[in-house]
């Protein structure tokens, strides 16, 4: 019964995102990909396939991140502002179900969005290469890792949305995305530091999401394989991290005074 209620909230979140014309970004993506596929061969040398993969996957990732942050930050606050939250919570829906449903709704939107963009990437790839290669299969792994990034950033946006204003939530989520992209450097910095600074830097490096481990765009563009162990570990990491952020959101929202 609970899962049905969560599914209802998730499907409503998805429908709302579609009504908000979120999927319009697919048009911009289509223009970007077709433009790149046609133009790059004329202005550069020998990188048509690389550009389609690099540009396509970067665009999938960045478009999705922007959607995750800007929709995610309003998931709770918008419901409170429009007072629709009270209607939902007056029914037999628990607060945690609302948060989890919202999370799955936005993740579902991003997965659908990524699916259509992936089709665009492969069509462009076919256009420039005339045929698929075995190595193109690794692009699917890179897309899967991008979806894992969305899980994390959506959970974080939801976490911030549960206690902060949309503007601050956007700043926090975007900052964590940037810091998370520097996670490897933070580790390096921690290794070089001494004393308390070392502990602080190490703690920060482990606390912020590590987006760099989920980014294999450059290597798959060169057809380099991705180890099964990395796929497994990344999956586990993203699920655990998203679980942690959603739990935090639930915890805050459960104790929040909504009056």
């Amino acid at each position: 019964m609970r899962s049905v209620r969560i599914a209802h909230i998730a499907s409503n979140t998805f429908r709302e995102a579609v009504r908000d014309r979120v999927l319009y970004n697919l048009i911009a993506f289509a223009v970007l990909m077709s433009g790149a596929a046609i133009l790059v061969g004329q202005i550069s040398i020998g990188i048509e396939r690389l550009v389609v993969i690099n540009l396509g996957l970067t665009a999938v990732s960045l478009f999705g991140m922007v959607i995750a942050i800007f929709i995610g930050i309003g998931l709770v606050s918008k419901e409170i502002e429009k007072r629709t939250l009270y209607t939902v919570l007056s029914r037999p829906v628990q607060r945690w179900e609302f948060i989890v449903g919202k999370f799955f709704g936005l993740v579902g939107t991003l997965v659908v969005n990524t699916f259509f963009m992936a089709i665009g990437v492969f069509v462009a790839l076919l256009w420039v290469s005339r045929r698929f290669q075995m190595a193109d299969g690794w692009v699917l792994v890179a897309l899967y890792f991008i979806v894992l990034q969305f899980l994390i950033i959506t959970a974080l946006a939801l976490l911030f949305s549960s206690f902060s204003s949309p503007l601050l939530s956007a700043v926090f989520a975007f900052s964590l995305f940037v810091i998370g992209s520097f996670a490897e450097d933070l580790r390096g910095f921690a290794a070089m530091a001494q004393g308390a600074a070392r502990w602080l830097a190490t703690g920060t490096a482990y606390l912020v999401p590590n987006f760099s481990t989920l980014n294999v765009v450059s290597s798959v563009a060169h057809g380099q394989p991705v180890a099964a162990q990395l796929v497994f570990s990344n999956t586990l990491y993203a699920l655990v991290y998203a679980g942690m952020a959603v739990s935090g959101a639930v915890l805050i929202f459960e104790h929040r005074n909504l009056k």
């Binding site: 550009v51 960045l62 992209s181 450097d185």
Partner: protein
């Protein structure tokens, strides 16, 4: 509320007029500030900083910098420039962002090495780039070949060229010519034949139509150089036998020194000059030739790519 028709029409006209006017004004501004817009600037020259700023999307940034390097070289080359100050930094940034972008080493080193206007005249930077490419991609034999090519073609450094080819020959799946080249380079015998072998290898080892066209152009030039040398030797022999220079190639045919009227690789017959020299008829079709060029000939502006 129904939209007001006069407002719609006025706003539409205003939109179109303002758009057109802004384009025209911008064109005028570009014209006024030509020097400013065409300045050679590399705002961020540190590959490390750029890699950090890319937020992990360094592959795409490398593609952008590679395209910028191609455009920079193409634009300068087309204008017959004598200096290419930004080329080496652009290539270094590109390859630091994506060390596996082998196309940037292969083409980039060949942009850097030749003397202007065919290149930047920086063979040392080309060698640094090629060596960095080899360190990053030790299993790609093309990069060793490219390095040997630069040592031989630009520096005439036989021992380093032989070393590069020998290192390349040790790579699994390397082209079999590499071993032969390493041996011949060690003896540094028969330079023209060596050059022919290198360009033939270049032609065979790539699918890129521009590289292939470039290789064909060089092979034709080498053929012309060989033909002209041989024909002028025959003219000298005729002069020794007859006591005077031949007036045409028919004179050489008449004494069985030539079987037929010789033609260059583009199908045009060679010209025998009154002083006994041999020239090509259409030098524009045969860039890179060193022999048979009419005196005072000025080559046309270089093409960006041989297939242009």
């Amino acid at each position: 509320m129904k939209p007001s028709r006069p407002v719609t029409v006025t706003a539409s006209v205003l939109l179109a007029v303002c758009m057109l006017a802004s384009v025209l004004i911008l064109r005028r501004l570009d014209h006024m500030r030509r020097g400013a817009t065409l300045q050679e600037v590399l705002y961020l020259s540190s590959p490390k900083v750029l890699k950090r700023l890319s937020l992990g999307y360094d592959g795409l940034l490398a593609d952008i910098y590679w395209t910028r390097a191609v455009q920079y070289f193409g634009g300068k080359h087309f204008a017959g420039a004598q200096s290419y100050d930004l080329l080496a930094p652009l290539l270094e940034i590109t390859t630091a962002l994506d060390p596996h972008l082998t196309v940037a080493y292969e083409f980039g080193a060949n942009f850097l090495a030749p003397k202007p206007p065919n290149g930047a005249g920086m063979p040392e930077r080309a060698i640094q780039l090629a060596e960095y490419g080899i360190r990053s991609n030790p299993d790609d034999w093309h990069l060793y070949y490219n390095l040997g090519f630069i040592y031989y073609m630009e520096l005439r450094d036989y021992s380093h060229a032989a070393d590069a080819f020998a290192r390349g020959a040790a790579v699994p799946s390397a082209h079999p010519f590499l071993r032969i080249m390493a041996a011949q380079m060690a003896q540094h015998s028969g330079e023209r034949r060596m050059a022919q072998m290198m360009w033939a290898t270049t032609y065979q080892s790539t699918q890129d139509p521009n590289v292939r066209a470039n290789a064909v152009t060089h092979l034709r030039a080498l053929q012309v150089d060989e033909d002209v040398t041989n024909l002028e030797r025959l003219v000298s022999r005729y002069r020794e036998q007859a006591g005077h220079l031949p007036s045409s190639f028919s004179d050489l045919q008449a004494v069985d020194l030539l079987a037929a009227i010789p033609t260059d690789p583009t199908g045009h017959t060679y010209k025998l000059m009154p002083d006994g020299h041999v020239e090509v008829r259409v030098p524009d079709d045969l860039p890179f030739i060193q022999k048979g060029v009419p005196p005072g000939y000025k080559p046309p502006p270089p093409k960006f790519l041989p297939s242009d």
